[in-house]
Symmetry: C2
């Protein structure tokens, strides 16, 4: 299929693959010889919530693959109520594409799925980037009823992407300006867009967050089984999944580098897209068995 | 003065400069057009405690300047009992060299002096790197009486650099191997070495740590006055100045990126010297007003 900008999430066509009885919507674009990078999306996010200023620079080094998990966007099926259930769909999806080895970029909920993929099928995952996420047993994960978040969700003046700007960016002039620019970039794709997620997607995913907060056995001990080189990224003012969760990932994952950004929240990767894509590319380009890059 | 390797701490001659009634020992080496990088040393450390695998790669981009604070190594004067007092000497030293603008690399105690220099003379400091250090009011700073540290200091089999290997590196095979390599590199310089610091240096510097632990007013609020782009680095298993202090720096400095390394302690910059010098160079090469690089 011809396209003016085949290496961009602004214009890459949405495709579909059947696997294990479901039909998954996805996009794949980019050039280069690097291991493909599978991107795992945040709470209620669809293919259209990936910032082209993040995906497109990463697609210059190898293929970037975005997908809608079951019941999200144009993918069939029911949204699972556990991270483990979402992980099964993600593995079915990569099997559908015939991918045997990939890198992972997991953002927020997607970072939890990435960790579970590395646990459930270690041979699949080469390196992974976990942005604004939490380990199982983490603290204060996506409590939208907190006053710091509820005030935006309850504000009738904030609808659609305007609320995302408030939730993903810090309450400073500089961060909000970066948020406005991010929202603008999400609108650059004009056709072939996903439907916006409804309340049933949010409800099931929120159930999964509550389940992920529960820890069985010694807290964070299960992270020692994840040996893949990992880059952890977060903004120090993340109200949705506070940065303390990233600290715990950096301390308990045996092979992880942590990078935090100032003056930014949940969406630090979008706010500092130039730095993030430079750091992410440098990390992914390493073929060392160790995370430091 | 001719030298086989003028751009290296292995062979750079020790020099002396008089300023404000003291005579400071220092080394300067390297080529390039970048802003000079002033390196501020750790507890009891001298010119010879700087790992050439850290200093020398940084000296390929601009001049690296190492110096002994008052009363340390071959510098005259009395070791101050406050970070503020050490900062005055550091400023006197740069005045003696006629330096109007520089970057700072502050390691441990040196990171506290770097913060104070940025406070006391903001116009001097362009960008700074704070490794394995703590803000004023930080927690658990250099408590050598803790069992995790005291067991090495009390061990008669551990003398000289052997104890440094235990204190600066994590108790894993990989980190201790990196520590042994570090110790080996410190021995590469064979002539023109500093005397090893005695107990009077340790005593005064320890008094300074205790004073630095005390906070006046709202904890960490004074960090908001430091606007210089800052890179914070630490190993997640630092027992001397725990990584939580680096977290607080990343949260309260308004313009700082934090990088943490796995499987490493106080000496993470030496253990991961390739990554550290690559990251430090990329950070220093930026001329942005913002820390992300």
């Amino acid at each position: 299929m011809a396209s003016a900008r085949p290496g961009s999430n602004i214009s890459a066509p949405t495709r579909f693959v059947e696997s294990h009885g479901e039909r998954y919507a996805y996009r794949r674009f980019g050039d280069g010889t690097a291991c493909p990078l599978l991107c795992l999306q945040h709470f209620t996010g669809t293919l259209d919530n990936w910032d082209p200023f993040v995906t497109d620079p990463l697609a210059t080094r190898g293929e970037v693959i975005l997908f809608d998990n079951a019941g999200v966007g144009r993918s069939t099926g029911k949204v699972p109520e556990t991270v483990s259930g979402m992980t099964k769909h993600a593995l079915n999806f990569v099997d559908g594409l015939g991918i045997k080895k990939c890198d992972l970029l997991g953002f927020s909920l997607g970072g939890m799925i990435a960790q579970q993929m590395a646990r459930d099928r270690p041979s699949l995952v080469r390196r992974m980037i976990l942005v604004a996420t939490a380990p199982r047993g983490g603290e204060d994960i996506m409590h939208l009823e907190k006053p710091t978040l509820a005030r935006f969700l309850a504000d009738p003046k904030l609808r659609g992407y305007a609320v995302l700007q408030k939730l993903f960016f810090a309450p400073t002039e500089s961060s909000q300006a970066a948020g406005a620019a991010f929202i603008g970039r999400l609108a650059l794709r004009e056709e072939d867009r996903d439907p916006i997620s409804g309340p049933e997607v949010a409800k099931a995913q929120m159930t999964a967050f509550r389940e992920w907060e529960r820890s069985a056995g010694e807290r964070f001990a299960d992270l020692s089984a994840i040996r893949q080189p990992t880059l952890i990224v977060n903004g120090v003012r993340d109200e949705m999944i506070p940065v303390a969760n990233s600290y715990r990932l950096g301390e308990y994952l045996p092979n992880a580098v942590l990078l935090t950004y100032p003056d930014s929240g949940h969406g630090s990767l979008f706010q500092f897209h130039e730095s993030f894509t430079r750091q992410a590319s440098a990390f992914l380009e390493s073929d060392s068995l160790y995370a430091p890059y």
